[in-house]
Amino acid sequence: MSVLLPEDPTPIAKVPSTENKTGGWRTFRPVIHYEKCIRCYICWKFCPDAAIYFASPEAHAAPKEALSKFDTVEINYDFCKGCGICANECPAKAIELVLEESAEGDEE
C-alpha cells in the first residue's frame, strides 16, 4: 500500500487569479446608463474587486460637451460579482442592477 501525497508542502496554485472568472457568481448585473453618468468615478474607487476600469474616451459618447475630455468607465463582467456597491454609491443613480436572467441576451 502506498499513499499518494501531493509534492508541494502546501497547495501552490500556478494558475493566476485572473484565470478564475468570478463573474459567474453574480445574481444582479450592474448596468451603467451613460446618459446619466457624470464621470465622477466614485464607482471605480469603491469597486472592491477592481472590476470597473477606464475605457477609451471614444468608447461612449459623453453626455455633455464639458465632460467629453474625460475617460469613461466600463464594468468587467468576467470578474464583477454583482455586489452592487457601485450602484449604491453612484450619486447620479446612473447604475442599475438588473437581475442576471433578465439581462441575459444583452450584449456585454
Partner: protein, 395 residues
C-alpha cells in the same frame, strides 16, 4: 562574549544572531522588552532588518506570514492575549508551511487580570501545528531561537516554532549569558533557503481552496509526518549545537537523577531548576527522587517519557496551567502515552497559576506526596491543586 542579560534580552540576541530580515510585532507585557531591544538593534544599525509596526498581534503574524512568503526569515514575539489573538493566523502559518520562529513569554489568561507566568497561553495552542520548546534559563532562551530556525527551515519539516520562556522569572531576571560569535552562528545556520516563495515572474497562489475530494487530508497528513520527522532533526541539530557552542542540552527531556529514582517529577519550564535543587537536598536524606524536565511539548516526547516511566514507581506531573478536561495538558498527554507501556501511578499537581511562587518547600512536599503514592500503589486523587489559600498541607 559574556554578558548579563534578562531572558527577553537573551531572546532579542537570539533573534539578532539568526539574522531575520523582517520583524513584525505588537507590544504586550511581559514580551515588550524583547521587541524594544530589537527595535534598538535595528535603529543603531546593528541588525539589518525591516521592523514593521502593526496594530495587533493578528496583524503581526499576518505580516510575518506575508514576509516569509517572499523568501526571508522572520521573527516575532508575544504573550497570553496576544497569542490568543493570533490563533487563527497561527494555523495559517503552519498550514502554509512557513518556518517562522516566535518567542512566547508565558503569561496567565485573564480574567482575573494577571501579567505573571502561567502556561495556559501556549498550552491552548498545542494543536496549532507549531513546534513548542520550553526553556529553563536565559542561555537556553537565546540558544533555542538559533536552533529553532535550523530545525524549522529543514525542507522535510517546514513547521513554525514557538520558543517559550516563563514571564518575569526569566523574561525580567538577569543572568550571565554567553553570546555566541556572529560568524559561528552564520556558519551553523547558513543562508535561508525557502522551499517556495513569491516570484512576480511566476505568479502563484499559496494555500488555495481544496474541495472535499481534493488532497486536503493529504496535506494535513504531510504536516503530521513533518511533526514526526522533526524528532530526528531536533536530535541532530541539538547535538550539533552542543558540539559547536559547548552546551549540554538534552534534545527532548532533561533528566536529573532519574536512573534510580522511585518518584520522578515531570515538569516544564523554570520549575525544573527549582526541582533539581530540591532533588539534591532530598537525596542527602536518602529519598530517591528525580526530575524530568520536558523541553519539547510539540513534538511530544513519547518515547522519552515511556523510558523514564519504566524505571520509576510513580510519576508526578506538574502543570503550571489547567485544562478543563481530564487534568492539565502535560499530565493528560503523559498519562495517555504511558497507557499499555508502564503500569505505575501518575498524579497531576496543578500549581503556580497566575505567577504564584513555586518554592522549594512546596516542591519537597509534592515529592513526599509522590513517595506516599508510590508506597500505597494507588493514586488517591488524580488531579491535585497545590497551595490553594487555606489548604495548609503544602505550606
Amino acid at each position: 562574549m559574556k554578558a548579563i542579560l534578562t531572558g527577553n534580552e537573551a531572546a532579542a540576541w537570539g533573534a539578532r544572531l539568526s539574522r531575520p530580515k523582517v520583524i513584525a510585532a505588537y507590544p504586550i507585557t511581559p514580551q515588550t522588552s524583547i521587541i524594544e531591544a530589537i527595535a534598538a538593534f535595528i535603529a543603531n544599525g546593528e541588525m539589518d532588518a525591516r521592523y514593521i509596526r502593526v496594530e495587533s498581534e493578528h496583524s503581526a503574524m499576518a505580516a510575518c506570514i506575508a514576509a516569509q512568503n517572499t523568501g526571508v526569515r522572520t521573527y516575532t514575539a508575544t504573550s497570553a492575549h496576544g497569542l490568543a489573538l493570533m490563533h487563527e493566523v497561527l494555523m495559517w502559518a503552519s498550514g502554509a508551511r512557513l518556518p517562522i520562529v516566535m518567542s512566547v513569554v508565558n503569561r496567565a489568561m485573564a480574567p482575573p487580570w494577571s501579567v505573571w507566568t502561567d502556561q495556559l497561553d501556549t498550552m491552548a495552542e498545542r494543536d496549532s501545528g507549531w513546534l513548542q520548546v520550553y526553556t529553563q534559563n536565559n542561555q537556553e532562551v537565546l540558544d533555542s531561537i538559533i536552533m529553532s530556525y535550523k530545525i524549522a527551515e529543514k525542507h522535510s519539516i517546514l513547521l513554525p516554532t514557538m520558543v517559550i520562556e516563563d514571564a518575569f522569572i526569566l523574561s525580567h531576571t538577569s543572568e550571565g549569558v554567553d553570546i555566541p560569535e556572529q560568524k559561528k552562528v552564520d556558519d551553523f545556520l547558513g543562508e535561508y533557503e525557502p522551499a517556495f516563495k513569491l516570484d512576480p515572474d511566476e505568479p502563484a497562489g499559496f494555500g488555495s481552496l481544496i474541495m472535499p475530494e481534493g488532497p486536503y487530508m493529504e496535506f494535513r497528513y504531510k504536516m503530521a509526518l513533518a511533526m514526526e520527522d522533526a524528532r530526528s532533526e531536533i536530535r541532530k541539530v541539538v547535538e550539533e549545537y552542543n558540539q559547536v557552542f559547548g552546551r549540554e542540552y538534552a534534545p527532548f527531556v532533561e533528566e536529573y537523577k532519574t536512573e534510580d529514582a522511585d518518584a520522578v517529577m515531570v515538569v516544564i519550564g523554570t520549575i525544573g531548576s527549582t526541582a533539581k535543587d530540591v532533588v539534591d537536598k532530598m537525596r542527602e536524606k536518602g529519598k530517591k527522587v528525580g526530575v524530568a524536565r520536558v523541553r519539547y511539548f510539540r513534538p511530544f516526547p513519547t518515547e522519552e517519557l515511556r523510558k523514564i516511566a519504566k524505571g520509576a514507581k510513580v510519576l508526578g506531573v506538574v502543570d503550571r496551567s489547567y485544562s478543563f478536561g481530564p487534568g492539565a495538558d502535560l499530565f493528560a498527554e503523559t498519562k495517555s502515552v504511558l497507557y499499555g507501556y508502564a503500569d505505575i501511578p501518575v498524579k497531576n499537581y496543578v500549581m503556580g497559576l497566575g505567577g504564584r511562587d513555586i518554592t522549594p518547600k512546596i516542591i519537597e512536599k509534592v515529592f513526599d506526596d509522590m513517595l506516599r503514592v508510590a508506597k500505597d500503589g494507588v493514586v488517591d486523587k488524580e488531579v491535585e491543586w497545590v497551595g490553594l489559600q487555606g489548604d495548609e498541607r503544602w505550606s
